[in-house]
Subunit: 275 residues, 2 copies
Amino acid sequence: MSRAVAFVPAHLSVIFSVHLAEDPRAAGSRGAGIVIDDGVYVTVSEGNGCTLNGETRTIDPVDRLTDALGVEATVAIETDLPLGQGFGISGAATLGTALAANAAFDLAMTENALIEAAHVAEVEAGTGLGDVVAQARGGVPLRLDPGAPGYGMIDAIPVRTDLEYYSLGSIDTVDVLAGATESISAAGDRAVEHLQATPTLEALFRLGVSFSREADLLPADVAAVIEDVEAAGGRACVGHLGKTVVAIDRGLSQAGYDAVPSAVYPTGAALLRGE
Amino acid sequence: MSRAVAFVPAHLSVIFSVHLAEDPRAAGSRGAGIVIDDGVYVTVSEGNGCTLNGETRTIDPVDRLTDALGVEATVAIETDLPLGQGFGISGAATLGTALAANAAFDLAMTENALIEAAHVAEVEAGTGLGDVVAQARGGVPLRLDPGAPGYGMIDAIPVRTDLEYYSLGSIDTVDVLAGATESISAAGDRAVEHLQATPTLEALFRLGVSFSREADLLPADVAAVIEDVEAAGGRACVGHLGKTVVAIDRGLSQAGYDAVPSAVYPTGAALLRGE
């Protein structure tokens, strides 16, 4: 095969704590989030360059990954989702490139090795810390430790549910992750411990909101939307690092918002059928 | 919710070695296999009793699991696949019961805890050693260590391909696993090491045949089918413990067999959408 396609679902990071380490395989984040039906299709073939929805674009972790794999690849990324709004699109693009490049170039790497390579590229680019391993797992992942497979232990909350999301704009991931993250991490670690004791979807949303408030990651406009959903009897939280509010079932519509319908995607990233 | 449904894909165990341990969470098998599109639907609701395709049936690991979870459940299993022919149906039924029971009875257990409970039930029933963790992962799993999540490290060969299978009958899993397994395990461990060095689908099939021959798990009628497929230019191996030959693409049809079409199922077991 000289061309391959992978699908990687988007990941909304609801709770996280930052864990730096000398070895990027061991670095990353603990936390919990939601993998959704929408995501990224990545087509890899021989050549050079990267496009996002048809337009030439440099995506730092994708460049780092193809360098690390030692391939000269054309990477075509297609997605309906925006970068920088908390969907983990850079991680999805990088993991999809890894899975598709392995098939297109017959690299004979295992899934864990490809997940590790994508995780390392994201960590080194500073564009994400835990999206790649979450997107490889699918569902509602609980990242109990930071790091790539074999470094970090991952679990999940086994639920299927419809969701909705509504985006109020973007936050610069690199800026936040480059700043002081101690208070974020203290709040994140506390929330993860509580969630382990009560691993349910309702607890994830409740702890997600309290984490975001404690970590100072809940802008007033985002908090107002969450309050509107709760006032209408629903449950919502925010996907980090971004300003995307996600609600269980039709919680946003019921509060009067023009939200995008989605659902928990129960499984992880996968190569699509070959041609 | 008081009723829930899970789908668990079948798993053809191609290479394995047996690892006994005092703690059933740490016991199991190393090995490699193929998760396929076909599988088992398990519906769990309040009540008592187990049915397989509508007929009352006692499935030991399913009984053990519901006891361990402390639930009084009606378990309805639907599948087009036969028990005892190497598809891991007992493991699939048990894992599906775990996922569906967690949702139906609001047990608030994590995915790893449910996989562990199903693995322990299978190991204690003597009906399987590695199917549950493979079926939870999906694709072409490489079980690098024995045991449940957190005990055994699992990886996978990232491939998508069409397959075919053809069954010549059954082998009694309990009898083989209760017998002397040293020579099986020695051959299995060698094959896993070779596969780690060359993690490709072709290597899995090649090593699967040589493992089966060395482990004395290749009856003459099964070997004859594999030879026919190879003579027609294809590649086949056998799913253990059973007499089901699996071939890449249309390898069995091309050798004149009336085979069942299937494919690699890229992801693992999952709860279906609630009602």
